[in-house]
Symmetry: C2
Amino acid sequence: MKTLIVVAHPKIDDSSSQAFFKAGATLVEDATWHPLVEPFDVREERALLMAADRIILQFPLYWYQAPSSLPKWLNEVWSVDFASHLKGKQLAVVLTLGRQLQDYQPGAAVGVTLSDLLSPYVALANTCEMTWVPPLVVAQFARMTEAQRQSLLIRYQQFLSLPDTHFQTISQWWVDQLNKRPEAAQIAQTLQERQEHLASLRQSVKEAQDDE
Amino acid sequence: MKTLIVVAHPKIDDSSSQAFFKAGATLVEDATWHPLVEPFDVREERALLMAADRIILQFPLYWYQAPSSLPKWLNEVWSVDFASHLKGKQLAVVLTLGRQLQDYQPGAAVGVTLSDLLSPYVALANTCEMTWVPPLVVAQFARMTEAQRQSLLIRYQQFLSLPDTHFQTISQWWVDQLNKRPEAAQIAQTLQERQEHLASLRQSVKEAQDDE
């Protein structure tokens, strides 16, 4: 799966979270890190979009909206005619928040949900007949512990490379990662065996259910 | 009530709906027509905002978001520190749509609602402790009949000048409008009398209810 990461951030070089994501993305084969820089070369931008299977829009919220470079890019690059070429591709968002997650609900400080705030991108996926992938939301990166960041790195890499979030897909991802390191081959072997065992158990349960 | 109309439209001079609204706004005392033009003079923009009781953000949707000049303006002008000066003011949106209204619901072409799409501005009002005024939504202006446009003109002028949409406030607006034209003085007189009669009936109903 080829993934294009369109990053909209006015001060990307000062952002510790974007530096973190960039480092994570370089470790993922077939992922292209693409920060938006004005003016846009429409031809080049469209070629990048056409080549991708999953298009990720990655940005912080400023006053509850993406930085202005993103709507500008959408208006210049993503014309209605061109959008027909994107049909069937996946659209996803990686969102970074300065506020805590619980602020985004009725009655709390912000008072609206993240689903509300991301609705323009859901609508974009709908009208372009793209598949909307539930977003990866990262709140208060600056306050994360080292362990939380390690976990985030893995979630981010999976978000860039996995076609879905099924249990089996994620297990296979771990097997692949471990197999890349010779010292972890034994763990990978055990994980692989357990997964096969699990698949066989699942099959038995299914057959039992079908019998009823 | 002083009203500031902040218009975000990249081709405002080519827009027949914005020309229509501009003509309507000039007839309203205490309404300031203010199209966004980059670069922004932050000091001047803030002075306009401080002087207003109702701040209207007026824009079309491009890919389900405001044109990029609006988030840019918000980020440059509307800092967190400055926002404290806007506390208690009203925030409203005038939205123009190329699509028909029924496209904005689950299962329809766009698949999300206008309330979803306007949620960034509701959140803005919430965190700045401003009063959110339900939006004026204008779908497919180009296809409107002459009668529909006349009705829209009145709704728009009321939206710019009335503090609320109570029946009595709107009635009084009509009386004021008619009184401006000598030939309509008799209608205004009748309307005024009916309104007083209505107020007295309301009082009687209230007293009757209190007796129970």
